[in-house]
Amino acid sequence: MDIANIQGYAYVFALAFLVIVLYAYIYHLYKNRKNADGTDYEEYSNMALHDDLSDTPVADRYDVKKK
């Protein structure tokens, strides 16, 4: 197999791989919300909207949840 063929196959596989990664990430973002203890990423907007020192954090770093 010459170099042009190898480049061709590498191109196709890289393209397929990156498309899968992209859609897997989108799937992950949506699926995470549906899990019982998952994250709704849309709530993260509140980090900017409620950003006074006295506001409750969206997720408190020091709040250890009991299992």
Binding site: Y41, Y44, A48, L49, L53, V58, A59
Partner: protein, 492 residues
Amino acid sequence: MENRPLEYDYTVAKWFMWSTIILGIVGMSVGVFIAFELAFPSLNTVLGEGLSEYTAFGRLRPLHTDAVAFGFTVSGIFATWYYVGQRVLKVSMAESKFLMTLGKLHFILYILGVAAAVITLLMGYTTSKEYAEFEWPVDIAIVVVWVMWGVSIFGLIGIRREKSLYISVWYYIATFLGVAMLYLFNNMEIPTYFASGGHGDIMHSVSAYAGTNDALVQWWYGHNAVAFVFTVPIIAMIYYFLPKESGQAIYSYKLSLLSFWGLMFVYLWAGGHHLLFSTVPDWVQTMGSVFSIVLILPSWGSAINMLLTLKGEWQQVASSPLVKFLLLASTFYMFSTLEGPVQAVKSVNAIAHFTDWIPGHVHDGTLGWVGFMIIASIFHMAPRIYKREIYSKSLMTAQFWTQTLGIVFYFTSMWIAGITQGMMWRAHDEYGNLAYSFMDTVAVIHPYMILRGIGGTLFLIGVFMWAYNIYKTMSARPVEESELHSATPMGA
């Protein structure tokens, strides 16, 4: 005193806010001067023959680009970081003596670095690499300043209360890491004085790379300096200031995450478009073109996300000049991230390269997107830093329209001049003889050079209006904390 509630400490943000304004005035004044110098070369001796060395285009052009990129813009990035960082991480700099001292030291060393850069550039010390002109001692100072900022970022993240990092923080981190990597690799240089055992000028250095390799590294750096100074940190600003000012949640936070990773992956491969039709391998040129086109997707992902954040709240665009700045910044971002990829297409580049269309493109990005976004950010921050309303809403509105008109003058004149140049350089008769000399093109584009200078002047007048408005805000009507929650209070 002991029982006073904890507050955010904006001392360092305030200092950087003022360096943003002052360096903006310096950099843009130089820009306006050299714009007119191109139209009227006699300006070269405006201060007399003896000082013409310091007013020459070649001496002042790097001072303009570096002052607006590394002075105005980088100061704006630092100012907003020291403001936004505390707020979205819900931690005050007053809680850490170390971070407070480091922040202040960061500012002082930054100003010393800026002074060294300005003086050495005016003295004529340059590596001759675009946007990387600083000689090696200044480079070392810049690395120290940058590392201090990195410690500030990660130090603040280390003591945060908010568990997750807001999207803007991701963009600030990417700015820090991206510029660190680019700056270090492109500025690998050998000081010739030491390498030669004491010969020549101590300031002089040569690049560690040679020929085509040097060009490749330079434009990998040059294009990504646009990415990590003019794009990534400015997106960090809009993702905070637009939702906050309008009181609206980001239209799709998930889209902001997807666009972030898309931008990070794609941007780094696009630099090859600066070297189309040059000696670099053909596949590198093609890759640069292709990745530039793909870059439209993550760029528009962020920009559309911002426009949609105003969904149902479009009356704010009419009523608030601050929202006008934010909206137009986002629109100019869409505009220039479409124009750039179009210029990166090989057949278009064959006409556009080396013409005035390129600075036209750069300026609708830097004036419309970067400039407006930094101006808007400081208009939002200043009332919260001083706990006062903005001095004058009508002055702000007048500034918006003056500057918008200035930008339109700038890019339309450069479009016409650039495409005219490109077409005239290519024109030939049936025997292949060039139809026009270089001077023919200069004569034709002269009116557009003047229009460009007028456009720049209008933008600069707006910058003075901005500076005056912020200066007067320091003594404007005091406001309660509750008035500062979302829309910025403004005086008549």
